[in-house]
């Protein structure tokens, strides 16, 4: 058991300590990585524990970011208020928008979640609201880099452990039941649409927090909050890190984000790269890093006993 505990402590310590040793540029990168980690965590939770493939993480980031930014810009609410409000309101809105497809087969959810961020962009441009194509700048930012950093890292760690608890609690068990055999869940008197809605809401909370945080990180909101990046990198991070392991996606995010930063000079090549990595893992090592390690660990454990 101690063996399982050690990597976790390592992760926590690592996340908390590394920021102290890197310079400001990379600290900012860690902040971004944190946002992607939240998205990846949400994606993994929805995909492996609720059976819903969400191709539109950007929807959450965009909704959270826009709500926080607009509250800040038009109502002059401070980040301390806008972030929590945007997290909850954004999650509520995103969930409501996705509810119609929860009654249907998983593929509909994938399609709709993919389309919505793009639709949001169309609509914002077409109706020229919320700053239109230019966006809105000069939002409040955080008073210090340390606050920025530790806020997001704390959010990641809290979310990680909360979701890990959740999947072993009743709600998590029911969700896994829905994924394994939804008809039996219905025959047991439980409304699967209700539970799926709750699952989407939870994932949305994570994403919208990330979005709200992001708009205050750079003090700016715009169409890029709905960028494809936010939809695809979490997926790549999850597949690479190991679907279902919850820690894996977080790990994947912290690996891919710095990597993508390092490749910033190559422009869109980054996205091509994430996708190539994604496909490579899917085809050759679908279990992902964490699941692979866990399996190897169990193998070694058995060796020892002999």
């Amino acid at each position: 058991m101690a063996y399982l505990l050690a990597p976790r402590l390592l992760l926590i310590m690592g996340l908390l300590v590394v920021p102290l040793f890197v310079d400001m540029y990379w600290q900012r990168v860690l902040c971004s990585a944190g946002i992607y980690a939240l998205l990846a965590l949400g994606f993994d939770f929805l995909a492996e524990y609720a059976g819903l493939v969400c191709l539109g993480g950007a929807l959450f980031i965009g909704t959270g970011g826009y709500i926080a930014g607009l509250l800040n810009h038009y109502f002059h609410l401070p980040p301390l208020l806008t972030i929590p409000i945007a997290t909850v309101a954004g999650a509520a809105f995103s969930t409501m928008v996705l509810i119609p497809c929860l009654r249907l087969r998983g593929i509909y959810f994938a399609i709709i979640s993919f389309m919505f961020p793009l639709f949001a962009v169309f609509i914002i441009i077409a109706l020229n609201v919320f700053g239109g194509t230019e966006g809105i700048s000069a939002l409040d930012t955080f008073p210090s880099i340390w606050l920025e950093l530790y806020l997001i890292l704390a959010a990641v760690l809290v979310s990680l452990f909360a979701i890990r608890r959740l999947v072993n609690e009743n709600m998590g068990i029911i969700l896994r039941g829905v994924k394994d055999n939804d008809q039996a869940v219905r025959a047991s008197g439980i409304s699967i649409t209700g539970y799926k809605t709750r699952a989407v809401f939870i994932a949305a909370l994570l994403g919208c927090f990330g979005g709200a945080y992001l708009s205050h990180l750079y003090g700016w909101l715009g169409l890029s909050l709905f960028a494809m990046d936010f939809s695809i990198l979490p997926i790549a991070a999850t597949v690479m890190g190991g679907m279902g392991s919850l820690v894996g996606p977080v790990l994947g995010a912290f690996i891919l984000t710095p990597m993508s930063e390092a490749l910033r000079g190559f422009g869109q090549l980054r996205v091509v790269l994430y996708c190539l990595i994604l496909i490579a893992f899917m085809v050759y090592k679908p279990e992902g890093i964490m699941n692979y390690l866990e399996r190897k660990y169990h193998q070694f454990e058995k060796w020892e006993e002999v």
Binding site: G51, P100, F119, A126, Q183, L269, Y274, V283
Partner: protein, 294 residues
């Protein structure tokens, strides 16, 4: 009158785009998210062949369609074949392929391969000029689109009802297990479907792209249109896809006439949401809802 003609053209555009996607989905139940990217790829290849290699236009088209079918086949063979049955992974993988192609095309010059440097990549229409029809001027290209659409539907109809391969495709689409028991190779059919589907995407591209520009955004837009048609018409239903194309095609043109071009997207989103709320399996959806899958 104008609405009737432009509405029809628009509807045929949607139908052309959706047909390749529906074929692949119907046969292999794999939603080919790379559909839009192949569309753009073909457009781009044709442009390159014509402008960089100075090939004859018709030859360029035929060449790019051939390449498209090969690429479709390869996508299946290399990636999707290992993921059959795992819906989650199929979606993610084809989505990733789509991004590779589209974002790759967006890049600026890599090893001599020119990326999109500006929004000014334009395919010339096949036949220039307009004719007058019922008092409205309409380009030849738009007529070609309608002609292509009709020809395509007829050709596909004949193909799937009277050729051995076509019949096998239909068999797999209707009942995979039964068809396999009769000796139809499911993977091979899926590969054929993917290559035909990709060629169809390419065909749609060469017919439609002359009306506008070639850019990566178009790829996403085309994918969304294909998905919208399938959702509104019902995943897997051919009749539904055609019907939905007309519904969307006319709805968008009518809304442009009434409210202005900017509201087109809003109308599209609205239609999708309405369908999902009131008739989730699509207008002619044969695939039942989640509920009825005991």
């Amino acid at each position: 009158m104008e609405i009737l003609i432009y509405g029809t053209v628009n509807s045929v555009i949607f139908a052309l785009i959706a047909v390749g996607f529906t074929l692949v989905y119907g046969v292999s139940r794999v939603p080919n998210f790379a559909h839009g990217s192949i569309y753009v790829l073909v457009g781009f290849l044709t442009w390159s062949f014509v402008n960089d290699l100075n090939l004859n236009y018709a030859l360029a088209i035929i060449l790019s369609l051939a390449i498209a079918s090969i690429i479709g086949l390869l996508i299946y063979r290399i990636v999707l074949i290992r993921l059959r049955g795992m819906a989650t992974s199929e979606i993610i993988a084809s989505f990733a392929v789509s991004l590779i192609i589209l974002e790759g095309l967006r890049m600026q010059g890599i090893a001599g391969f020119k990326g999109f440097i500006g929004p000014f990549y334009v395919l010339k229409p096949f036949v220039e000029g307009k004719i007058e029809l019922f008092g409205i001027f309409i380009d030849y290209q738009r007529l070609i689109i309608i002609g292509a659409g009709v020809a395509l539907v007829t050709a596909l109809s004949v193909f799937t009802h009277h050729t051995k391969i076509g019949l096998s495709l239909r068999a797999i689409a209707q009942d995979e297990r039964a068809a396999m028991m009769l000796g139809v190779n499911s993977d091979r059919m899926a590969m054929i479907a993917m290559s035909i589907g990709s060629a169809l995407a390419g065909l749609a591209a060469v017919a439609i792209l002359p009306l506008g520009n070639i850019s990566a955004e178009v790829g996403y837009r085309v994918l969304i249109y294909a998905l919208a048609v399938c959702i509104i018409g019902g995943l897997g239903s051919w009749g539904g896809a055609i019907l939905a194309s007309f519904v969307i095609g006319f709805a968008m043109k009518i809304s442009t006439a009434l409210f202005g071009a900017l509201w087109e997207s809003v109308v599209l989103v609205g239609t999708i949401i309405v369908i999902l709320l009131f008739r989730p399996s699509g207008l002619l959806g044969k695939q039942k809802e989640l509920e009825e899958r005991v």
